[in-house]
Symmetry: C2
Subunit: 320 residues, 2 copies
Amino acid sequence: MNIIITGAAGFLGQRLAAALLQNNVLPFERLILADINTPRPPLEDARVRCVALDLSQPQAAETLIDADCGVLFHLAAIVSSHAESDFDLGMQVNFDATRQLLEVARHKAPAMKFIFTSSLAVFGGELPALIDDGCAVTPQSSYGTQKAMCELLINDYARKGFVDGRVLRLPTISVRPGKPNKAASSFASGIIREPLHGEAAVCPVSPELTLWLSSPGRVVQNFIHAATLPASAFGVSRTVNLPGISVSVRQMLAALREVAGEQVSSLVRFEPDEAINRIVASWPGNFDVRRALAMGFGADEDFQQAIRAFLRDEQAQGEG
Amino acid sequence: MNIIITGAAGFLGQRLAAALLQNNVLPFERLILADINTPRPPLEDARVRCVALDLSQPQAAETLIDADCGVLFHLAAIVSSHAESDFDLGMQVNFDATRQLLEVARHKAPAMKFIFTSSLAVFGGELPALIDDGCAVTPQSSYGTQKAMCELLINDYARKGFVDGRVLRLPTISVRPGKPNKAASSFASGIIREPLHGEAAVCPVSPELTLWLSSPGRVVQNFIHAATLPASAFGVSRTVNLPGISVSVRQMLAALREVAGEQVSSLVRFEPDEAINRIVASWPGNFDVRRALAMGFGADEDFQQAIRAFLRDEQAQGEG
Ligand SMILES: NC(=O)c1ccc[n+]([C@@H]2O[C@H](COP(=O)([O-])OP(=O)(O)OC[C@H]3O[C@@H](n4cnc5c(N)ncnc54)[C@H](O)[C@@H]3O)[C@@H](O)[C@H]2O)c1
Ligand SMILES: NC(=O)c1ccc[n+]([C@@H]2O[C@H](COP(=O)([O-])OP(=O)(O)OC[C@H]3O[C@@H](n4cnc5c(N)ncnc54)[C@H](O)[C@@H]3O)[C@@H](O)[C@H]2O)c1
């Protein structure tokens, strides 16, 4: 059995690859890492193959997938602000490339577990305080629209037995290492990461804004869990709102102060950015995830834990 | 200003064309009727152009739309049972052709009112007794999936100002004249129409099944109304659940008895068909349509009225 990760040069793709190689929850022969930017293997391991591939090209899925593929983690995407400014690129990568992968899987490897990373950006507009599985999807961004269209298509492919699709709606990931990116939610990591590095950070949204967060380590555990579940665990819908924690920006900064001190947390200043705010404020801040918890998906305990996990990861990197 | 109707050789397309030519609610210079089967003009009128066009062909939308198009009623579709048995054809016509029309409209006529006919088949699975605008879309058919994907795309095109999109979720249409078709809901007209013609009819679903219905005359009025509303009337979402009436199959047959007598209504016998039942039973039977009513959309008074309208239409046809 082979595992494929698309978007494997990306943030979560690299972490997922490392986790699959390190623990043996999901045994495999080969781990194929595909990305438009040639992915690096996160560890030296003879099972890894790295493939440079633009998934928006017509033959890409055909090249990538064969009958030995047992699990495909489809993470490649154009993130939110980028998909908003370049609508056509977003459609090509976020929607068309996903459809292409589904089509090839249907004809070459219909038993494949097709794990898709969706987002809370499928929600928007006037929302109830607590989002549950019965809540209408009303995206206020092209990114959210493209993810929502993929969710529908994957559910239909699964219903028809074309492929064993599973859709995970991710919380916003924080704390994310590295540089700011073009996701509208980039600040949700920046306001923690930059101060911890002794740098000033700008918060473009109100301190009252509530976010729905998961640490990267936790979300990667949930990815792998999704690939171990039997199809029957999903019931009537293949789409799951993953667990997260509901915290306001103010609470995030209080957690930062608690973990790293007042001097660090005071490096954040507020400068409202209407474009960012419009997108992020339309995302829900709290979910009823009883179904996901019953299926065995998990959440962080609190945001302090997510900050400490980030510091531990940075230290390990420094030593590694 | 020109008006285009796609699917204009179809049942609702023909009725819509006739209504646009007969009343002057929506003034226009040219009425372009397009369909894969060459449409007939419903009346002699110098303003009508008929175009034979397969919308699933790559250049079709480009051929059809020019800058003079002010309103496009996009009705062409592969109906429910047919899209379920031929998944690829359904994707091509119901989804890809719609996307192609949106793309050409975006570049050639962004002010165009793009009226899309969706369906209550976007709903399915475990549903609340009364569907409102906040209810999640969980289609249990490929037809419903394809319609739901179009809804999302049209809302995004409208949000971005690419085109002035409007999505109408139609109730099941009854009483529909003519022959049974490949829609799973075909029986909802057959059990009335065939007995009125003195023929036996088979009902494949339980008498307790509740349907959400609209007469064809009423739904065509609602199409035209949708094209006269300002964009602002739609508020946060371009998708509207059109008004209908909630009636059980038993009540439909009681209405038939009331209008046409016991001898006619006794021509219906029940023969459960699991394939049909699975699709139709997943559709909702009742909606909260306060928003649609406030926007000026209307419903039939009761099902008796819908039967009488059918009889009047047949008589007019016979005389015409
Ligand atoms: N990080 C979050 O907060 C978050 C939240 C919700 C959902 N998600 C989803 O999780 C997935 C992974 O997110 P991430 O944070 O690792 O994003 P990322 O931007 O770090 O990684 C995405 C990867 O996709 C690759 N890619 C883009 N276009 C491609 C193409 N045409 N062909 C092949 N590869 C291409 C990029 O090169 C990049 O390496 C994405 O689908 C994202 O939408 C992330
Ligand atoms: N009648 C209903 O109960 C009902 C309910 C909900 C939604 N709708 C929707 O309303 C619309 C009209 O429905 P109808 O009952 O008139 O359907 P219909 O089947 O009578 O008409 C559809 C028309 O589309 C045409 N068509 C199919 N493929 C085409 C292609 N590739 N290129 C060009 N034309 C093509 C067909 O030739 C046909 O004339 C459809 O979009 C349907 O999904 C109908």
